[in-house]
Symmetry: C2
Subunit: 252 residues, 2 copies
């Protein structure tokens, strides 16, 4: 929020003191022509691997900007946030969900096709660009990885063993989300949100039979899919996020 | 989400079996010409006071629809959700916040002017219309009351005594939100979110001196104002919302 904070940019290049980093054409255009940055402008760079580094605009051309990397500002930290597994929804709410999930610490964005999924195509490149911008803005040292869509049954069949799956069950059969998150302990987690039309009964039955999954109930109101996912991520963040060194347990 | 659920409409009229309720011109247009509903179409009505009632489209004119109220479907329940006190932000994020705050159970939406508030005008009528639509969609029996904007200092000076104020403090000085909500017990609450530019130092000092206020920290990332407010409401809902009959306390 503070206006004096340095603009942050995500880059693919390795970052080390003295390195020279060329921005992409889009980034260069934005920096030079939209933000009207000149030589010597201070920035901060991150690449998801090497932490955050001070950098300075060293050379400018018509369509290119070259940065010189200075000292390291922050060390890289592991990104322990949950995966968000979602049935694609309409473009506006999906863009919103991508931005908010990035701010709320999701580590992976994974679209799944379900029986009732309406939106058949997902523009993962667009979601990736939204995630980069949100990561730059919110101070993350990583950008959530946007994976290619896959069918729900294939995802479940190849589920990575220790990761737990929190299923947002709009039929009301689940446990309160706070209980579900508390019961996870330190296990890695994924949050699954279904399509606007809900999961098919066969999908709910399959999900309920999984030993690594737990159904949660977000309360009596009918939440839009993106609201449910954002709410679940916010709860995860509040209970398990960085600097939340407090374990909560149900009172007796 | 389910497609077989009756369309819900918010009305101002009193609701009782046998009552006849005229829809507004806007509602009539939407029902008759957008949704192409005909005589006999079943609906559900609520007015924030009398619970939810079955109703049937009884008479139609070119610009009017008259409903006949049938039996009561749900009794009215008290709306115990928190107030949301917010410095107005840009139109898109503010519309979004209004929709999500309604889904997440806010009982009052109260715009405040702060030192760094950018958006000086708030269209409370538009926010009210968004709140009505979200309440109809999510199954609430009430619509959050959208109040007229007021200055932060005046609001604080006339604060209603037993209500606690959860201040989303982006400067990092607060306690984790789960702790703050747990410490409230059953007290009524309000959540305060500042403008994109943050609170002025004098405002933070004033807020920190209040006995009814507690500053909370939503973690190390820089959340957009609407994200912070939605996250706080989601946490409140998960810990204190309807059907959350579970009290949480920090583990020792």
């Amino acid at each position: 929020m503070g206006s004096e904070s340095r603009r942050r940019l995500f880059v693919e290049a390795n970052l080390a003191e003295g390195a020279r980093v060329a921005l992409t054409e889009d980034q260069s255009h934005r920096l030079l022509h939209v933000l009207r940055a000149g030589r010597g402008t201070a920035l901060a760079l991150f690449n998801g691997r090497d932490g955050e580094w001070r950098a300075e605009l060293a050379e400018t051309g018509k369509k290119r900007a070259l940065l010189r990397v200075g000292e390291r500002l922050r060390a890289q930290e592991p990104e322990a946030g949950p995966w968000l597994v979602f049935a694609p929804i309409k473009r506006g709410p999906l863009d919103l969900l991508t931005e908010k999930a990035t701010e709320l610490g999701a580590s992976v964005l994974l679209p799944v096709r379900t029986r009732h999924t309406d939106a058949q195509r997902v523009n993962t490149a667009r979601l990736g660009a939204i995630a980069v911008e949100a990561a730059e803005q919110c101070g993350r040292l990583t950008v959530p990885e946007v994976r290619a869509p896959q069918p729900l049954d294939a995802l479940i069949a190849a589920w990575p063993a220790p990761r737990r799956l929190i299923v947002l069950d709009e039929t009301g059969g689940g446990v309160p989300i706070v209980s579900a998150i508390a019961a996870l302990g330190d296990a890695p987690a994924a949050i699954l949100v279904g399509p606007e039309g809900g999961f098919a009964q066969s999908e709910l039955d399959a999900l309920r039979s999984l030993t690594f999954a737990v159904g949660v109930d977000l309360g009596p109101r009918i939440l839009r899919a993106e609201t449910a996912a954002i709410a679940a991520l916010a709860c995860w963040q509040a209970l398990r996020g960085p600097d939340r060194g407090i374990a909560f347990q149900p009172s007796p």
